[in-house]
């Protein structure tokens, strides 16, 4: 008999080479390799191994092998350096972040030609994003040291960049990622360089400020290359040899940092940023073991180096909270001791209310993290777990590969920087809702508590005094609507993603109806929590109806009859527009099983169901009787 009859070793014990071999087998046999890919995420990979992984990802894409849970993306690159050297490593990194990335590189140093020519073959690709990756190395000119020459150079360069960015935006039907410049070269003037009109640092500053304006004006995404290289240290980030040799400005470490930054941006744009920071307590947010050392015995705050370090961790966690990241605790401790420490210890800056969930008990951390996710109603993949104890880290990693668990050194001094360097809380936009998100999750926890106290669901929901403001998506709520469309994975019927430009275009079309919904209750304002996109259709007996192409809802408000409220109001709006039926669409993914019965629960009849294109459900408006819902209608008509 062949080797196949033997039981294979558990996947987590495989080496990188063995995993690669197994993935290759999967590709040949067209089997889904996602389990192997999950294991690869746990290995710290060298650049060459990432490149190998990149080649594999490209083969997976070419072979058409389906990978469950991995999103396909296509990135276009416009650059004036040898970007063609980067894709393998970038694609490898993307794979470890859950993306099957395809990269198409435009002609080298031809940004202006591509931008000016709408017929350029570059645009025939169906890109999800284009990165405008122009480097100072490729722009730099030797200037005469007089201000006239500097003025002319600067005005030429500014208009070149402007024309390129605007041309790309005009011709490519996708968002741009724009990176700024950084000055790598030593100056012959030294400290006064920035004071001189022709000083190269001054020139880069001027160009960068123009790039910022163009980014803001065009609503593009921004990669702060200058901050990246400066933080790393430009002397080691760049390599003059590589630039002279192959027109590639960075050395290997710099390149890896740069590619990481691109991945972080993509993660954030695609709504895969982390939402929850789960902290251990002993030796993570204070020094010592509170159960052993007592409240007075722990190290926190000024007075010792370690105490300062732990204070830094607390400050970082609190600023993340202010930015909209939800905090929770998973600690093996006695709950009363911990509570009284947080309340009484003068140097602990947390309040007990800063944590949306406290799991302080003797259960294993993996199960506690699972229940935190459940209580907050978020996916387990939106959690970051910080613990000084390698055992706990390992247990969580082994149980939940989707949870991000960074390695921590024994000494606490870098903990705060390590948390921030993860870049996993990255936001491409900062909206008002982000500021209030914490309150909303906290309210959620309160509601959950109230819920368990209340016997009757109906009367509980009524007692919440809910009201929903809704209306057509306009400029006031466009940003948040697009954000919700792009980050929702669970309550998302068709999981299509949109750029702001695309939604704006839809607003202009008569046959498109775009709705937003907000929800308020006596505990607080949940903000904008649902988006519904409809388009006119006549596929059912050539009679006019509305096709619900997209419907997303924030999972924070599930179980509150909001779905029924949406359908009630949608029916009213559709009838006003002479529609006779609603056509609901559902495309199953690995994450949206929560809505697999939504349309049938809402009284829709199955109209069509295919394995590849998903399902269509029909609701006849003539027979429809509005649902009784515990939500007050606050329709807003701004037009």
């Amino acid at each position: 008999m062949s080797d196949r009859s033997k039981t294979p070793p558990p996947v987590e014990l495989l080496s990188f080479d063995e995993i690669v071999g197994n993935i290759q087998l999967c590709i040949q046999e067209k089997k889904d390799p996602h389990e192997l890919l999950t294991v690869v995420r746990l290995i710290d990979l060298k650049p060459r191994e990432l490149q190998k992984l990149g080649s594999l990802a490209t083969k997976i894409l070419k072979s058409g092998t389906v990978v469950n849970g991995y999103e396909k993306l296509k990135l276009g690159v416009i650059s004036n350096v040898s970007w063609a050297l980067f894709p393998n490593e970038l694609i490898g990194k993307a794979l470890t972040a859950g993306f099957l990335l395809d990269v198409v590189i435009g002609p080298y140093d031809q940004a202006i030609n591509v931008a000016m020519n709408p017929e350029d073959p570059f645009y025939q690709n169906n890109f999800d994003f284009i990165i405008y990756a122009v480097f100072w190395q490729g722009l730099e000119a030797t200037l005469d040291f007089n201000s006239g020459a500097a003025d002319i150079y600067l005005s030429n360069m500014t208009s070149k960049i402007e024309v390129e960015i605007q041309g790309l935006l005009r011709n490519a039907n996708c968002p741009l990622i724009i990176q700024n410049l950084t000055n790598h070269s030593r100056s012959v003037f030294g400290n006064i360089d920035r004071l001189l009109p022709f000083g190269s640092r001054n020139i880069v500053d001027c160009l960068n400020s123009k790039i910022i304006d163009l980014t803001k004006d065009s609503n593009s995404f921004f990669l702060d290359f200058d901050a990246l290289a400066s933080e790393y240290g430009k002397k080691t980030f760049f390599s003059a040899k590589n630039w002279h040799w192959v027109k590639q400005p960075m050395n290997q470490e710099g390149l890896s940092e740069y590619l990481n930054e691109i991945i972080k941006l993509i993660i954030s744009i695609r709504g895969k940023s982390k939402k929850v920071l789960v902290l251990d307590m002993d030796n993570t947010i204070w020094g010592g073991v509170i159960g052993d050392d007592g409240i007075e015995g722990i190290e926190i705050g000024p007075g010792s180096a370690a105490g300062e370090a732990f204070l830094e961790v607390q400050k970082t966690a609190l600023s993340l909270k202010k930015r909209g990241i939800v905090l929770a605790v998973a600690s093996k401790n006695d709950l009363e001791t911990v509570k009284s420490a947080i309340e009484k210890h003068p140097e602990i800056i947390f309040n007990i209310d800063d944590f949306a969930v406290l799991k302080v008990d003797w259960n294993d951390k993996a199960s506690n993290i699972k229940s935190i996710a459940k209580e907050l109603n978020v996916g387990i993949d939106s959690i970051v777990f910080i613990d000084d104890n390698p055992f706990e880290r390992e247990q969580v990693r082994q149980t939940h590969a989707e949870v991000l668990v960074p390695e921590l050194p024994v000494s606490p001094h870098e903990y705060s920087n390590i948390i921030l360097d993860l870049g996993c809380f990255e936001a491409v936009r900062f909206t008002k809702e982000d500021l209030h998100r914490y309150e909303q999750y906290k309210d959620n926890a309160k509601r959950a508590k109230k819920f368990s106290e209340s016997v009757n669901l109906e009367s509980f929901l009524l007692s919440l005094n809910m009201g929903s403001e809704f209306g057509n998506i306009d400029d006031m709520n466009l940003k948040r609507s697009v954000q919700l469309l792009n980050k929702s994975n669970q309550f998302n019927l068709t999981t299509r993603r949109f750029s702001e430009q695309e939604v704006k275009q839809k607003q202009q079309i008569q046959s498109e109806h775009l709705f937003y919904y907000k929800l308020e209750d006596k505990f607080g304002d949940n903000g904008l929590i649902s988006v519904l996109l409809c388009t006119k259709t006549d596929i059912h007996n050539s009679i006019l109806g509305w096709h619900i192409t997209d419907w997303v809802m924030s999972c924070r408000v599930l179980g509150r009859e909001m779905e029924k409220f949406c359908i009630n109001t949608l029916v009213t709006a559709a009838k006003k527009n002479n529609a006779r039926y609603l056509l609901g669409e559902y495309i199953p993914t690995s994450k949206n099983s929560i809505v697999n019965n939504l349309y049938s629960n809402l009284g829709f009849q199955c109209y069509k169901s295919t394995e590849h294109d998903g399902e269509l459900w029909l609701l006849d408006l003539d027979d429809f009787k509005p649902y009784e819902v515990p939500i007050k209608n606050r329709f807003i008509n701004r037009t």
């Binding site: 060298k46 060459r48 191994e49 393998n88 002279h244 040799w245 590639q248």
Partner: protein
Amino acid sequence: MNEKDIWGQVVIVFCDIVDVEKNIVFETTDSESIEEWDSLAHVRLIVALEDEFDIDFLPEEIYGLSNLGALYKVILTKIS
């Protein structure tokens, strides 16, 4: 690391970067015999070898060095 280990390591790096199987890689392997070993792969290979062995090639040393055995010999002199 003895010479045999170093050769083994060169082959591993080569296979990762050029994306070929170990069993077709020998000291006589050159860019003519392996289609995937193009100029871009060559640059990535040099950078990866520098990274792996913590050495620094001069561009003039590796210019036209598209035979794996010859590359390996340059690495040996750099390490010793």
